[in-house]
Symmetry: none
Subunit: 198 residues, 4 copies
């Protein structure tokens, strides 16, 4: 009965161990043996659950991005106005990244690095995420709340860039501030820009 848990459990334990180790040392400086030791399994066991070392990293991305998109879908009501939705996205993004520093290091630092050299597998999910933001921008333009001059996808990338930089900055500066605390100010900048309004 509980046996079924054993399987999922072990895969999860390997991924959890991988997050910690890779966040701490980077993908290339983390050995499979390190992950195995932290997960409490034998080296060979890793290969029962993942085809090779790369596959662990991909699985990590998958899991992280899925959680991201899923939480976004669950916590942003469809019927909300675009500005509220955008504010919510900004809050959620910073919240989720801020929740698990190790995972954040991986998505901000390793993901970026690997996207380019390990194929495009994971870029698709970033694209999905950008698509969600772009939809909100388009909605805002339809509502007459957002400037019609902005190309939605370009705006989405800009927004993502701001959020991403906040996250990266938070990781690289090892201070102990809460990432979410910036949400209000960031939302102000994104919505209002930097130029003084007449």
């Amino acid at each position: 009965m509980a046996a079924v848990r054993g399987n999922g459990d072990k895969r999860k334990r390997i991924l959890d161990a991988a997050v910690v180790e890779i966040a701490r040392r980077g993908y290339y400086n983390t050995t499979v043996a390190m992950i195995a030791r932290r997960a409490g399994v034998a080296d060979g066991t890793i290969y029962l659950y993942f085809e090779n070392k790369d596959a662990i990293l991909f699985a990590l991305f998958d899991r992280a991005m899925s959680r991201f998109i899923e939480k976004g879908r669950a916590q942003i009501p469809q019927q909300l106005g675009a500005e509220h939705k955008l504010r919510r996205i900004i809050e959620l993004h910073l919240e989720l990244v801020g929740e698990d520093r190790d995972l954040a290091i991986i998505t901000q630092v390793e993901l970026r690095h690997s996207l380019h050299f390990m194929g495009q597998l994971s870029r698709n999910q970033v694209r999905d995420y950008l698509g969600i933001i772009a939809d909100v921008v388009a909605q805002g333009q339809a509502e007459g709340a957002f400037t019609p001059e902005a190309e939605p996808l370009l705006a989405a990338k800009a927004i993502f860039g701001v959020l991403d930089e906040m996250a990266t900055d938070w990781i690289l500066s090892r201070r102990n501030t809460r990432l979410e605390s910036k949400a209000e100010a960031v939302a102000g900048l994104i919505l209002g820009g930097i130029r003084l309004r007449a």
Copy 2:
């Protein structure tokens, strides 16, 4: 004189070779031998100019960021108004990144990765760059052109994030568009934000 140039020449050739190889394969998948071969020197010669493999990467960052800041200083007149300065920074950033795709890959992809795992050496220069942008923001607020609500360093990070994402997106999508062509639209977003002006 010629001797010194010969010397500097070899160091430069190694760095130039490193840019190409590392951009193509990533730092960890590039061997010292590959760099040596492209530079046209013996493997051992590398170690006459660099203490170890990591040192090559650091030198690469140094050179790239120095060029960046230097060009910025040279091409943005001090007496310009803040908005013009900011527009010029945006143009220059996209221009410079767009000029050398190999170098761009390294600064966008490898730099970020290394910042975290190889110590703070290079982070300082990013900080310098953010400082320059922050100064322009502060200048704009003093001039009454920019919103006084924005904390200059935070705004600088947001601006950097937008530019950085544009650059990263340009690299990851292997399309043949010119990166500079986005400058106008990006400047619009950064200055005016996304919310429709009254």
Copy 3:
């Protein structure tokens, strides 16, 4: 009764699977898991029937050589003259080897390899086979049909060598000829030698 058959059945299925896999890939490139999969049993089940991987190979040789000697005994009447017996042996050898290419590969290629490195277990049976041929040679000499100069065991080895090379050649050249078709010519050579008779 059915239980016993079920048992023998599983052992047989494992050996049959082993023949195919080992013939295809060689002993060292065949994993126990491959054999188990083809046999339709679990990996662990193999070890209920064989002490270890080597034991499978030994059992294979045993089975093959037993069939060989057994068929020889059954199909070569004791009262036959030596020359007829020898012709029959030549035919039978080529026939049997030619019947099952997979098994032939194992006896020609793997057996030889293992004879040397896995102990003498199987060499005994080759010796038995050589003994049978040597007896026929001696019988021929007693009958006055074969040359008395030839030392029977040496002659037996020479005969075996010819047959063995024919078999090996047939396996290594992947042509689709029938091995038995060479029997007549081979018998001629063995009996008459290569020198023209006066």
Copy 4:
């Protein structure tokens, strides 16, 4: 000056070490580290001279077969009659194989094994050798010394089979007899066959 020797020397030392180790344990039970240790070089050095472990085995075959064919060419005068030539081939074959037991083990046991599973690379040289014997058979038929009934290539294979079996038998029986001592008797069998002459 002597430096040039260093290179050829090292490659030779590796091959010599490989012969001993592989003959003793078989190819698959010999590790690269074992060969390196016996050769007195570091593990990694092996890979400066050979692409991978397989390449060592191939090089061994090449060297062995080249020596074989070369010695054959050097020591068998073209103008000899076919029977003398054939006797000389038989002597030389047994002599050469008998000279270096380790090498013999490899050619008789490992060659055979690998021919089938590692591609056909080396089979070509066996074919060359068979061709040489076949030519002698054809010469003998032209001279009217050998029976015209025998197809030369088939006869060559039969002869090779006899020689090969003698060699294999000599290796597998660990007795201390000299292999060459059988040459006379073997030649008699090959030339005269087993049937008593009228």
